[in-house]
Amino acid sequence: MLKVRLIPCLDVKDGRVVKGVQFLDLVDAGDPVEAAKAYDAAGADELCFLDITASHEARGILLDVVRRTAEACFMPLTVGGGVRTVEDIRNLLLAGADKVSINTAAVKNPDFVREASEKFGNQCIVVAIDAKKVSGEGEGPRWEIFTHGGRNPTGIDAIAFARQVTELGAGELLVTSMDRDGTKGGYDLALVRAIADAVSVPVIASGGVGNLDHLVDGVSKGHASAVLAASIFHFGTHTISEAKGYMAKAGLRMRLDEPAHP
């Protein structure tokens, strides 16, 4: 049986983890490679790096971080943030990323998804969908794609966009509610479920996790194949194994193998 994946996400800026990983006894809490190793040892099912570096010139630093992480961690690594060209994807994959997530570039030019998946295979192309609810009280639910961290509306319907990029070759969708991100109020389950039920590829729920029930809900109510969270792990509110144990007790199928690392 395929297991539900639990994915910690690290925001990386100029080669450093933003906010840091505070619960682990790391020599350097801001070093993404050290944080990645710690999550690998803790039994995370995958790892996600989101590069929030403002300047495109600093990409070399990220590539070096990805390279050193891939050397040290034998787990799948997804890297996103600022991916604009086929060359960006190639560089990340050659550095050791297993999957690359595309966001704004896919919104500006959906055909980029086709180009990327034809070149590298749909298994490594993740489309990150940042959506906000735009329907009013009493209306049927409707979500719109936003770019630039939720600041720029696009007028594009999130569910239609999810269907479109899946047909173009996205192998997986990372669905983030911009209404919930950072609130600790839980995923936007209606959004996650609407997209998961509309497409044939796996969906990762993201944005808003504040407790372990939120993770469970993402799968049981949101129909997600994987759940992503950041701060509840970085700040030590919960450990990966605590979360996986809790999800298993709630009836979800989880991978509870002993980690390979001592």
């Binding site: 049986m1 395929l2 050397e71 044939s200 991978r255 002993e258």
Partner: protein
Amino acid sequence: MSVVIIDYGSGNLHSAAKAFERAAREAELDCPVIVSSDPAVVAKAERIVLPGVGAYADCRRGLDSVAGMVEALQKRVHEDGRPFMGICVGMQLMATRGLEHTTSYGLDWIHGDVKAIEPQDPALKIPHMGWNTLSLAKPHPLLDGIPTGPDGLHAYFVHSYALAPTDPGDVIATTDYGGPVTAIVGRDNLVGAQFHPEKSQALGLKLIANFLRWRP
């Protein structure tokens, strides 16, 4: 003893090489890991690994684009009987044909076609992506000491197509995804894993170490 990982332009092999190095170190095997695109190196290799990510036809084209590589592989693996492991699309290339988008021909070492996975449960997503357990179809030295079955260790899969061997005797292990899906094939000195041992943590490192010790 050494192992050659074939580089034919199919993605990054650095982390695969690191995983083999680590498995060798932990198993206390003196086994240098060589990443090479040189058919002359493959022709003398003691152990050979053929990785592969992306589309079947692209991988086949990539392999063909290295002059002399297929011939070197055929000779070293098929005639000299050296231990061989295919990984993911590298495993699928061991089949007769791949039916992804178009029909492409594989190495025909394991008779059968690579076809789209069609889970009986329509709610199951494609690609089959993530961690799954293995069901042993028959004992094999590569799975020595690796717990299989529903409570066994997990392997990391990511694929939309799977090899269906003509001879069921070539199936070493399956995984369950709306029905059995081929996870490991093998015959004589050949073995192939649909999943990624280099990403499969404990199970992967054990399987790689078993391959490095294997004397078929």
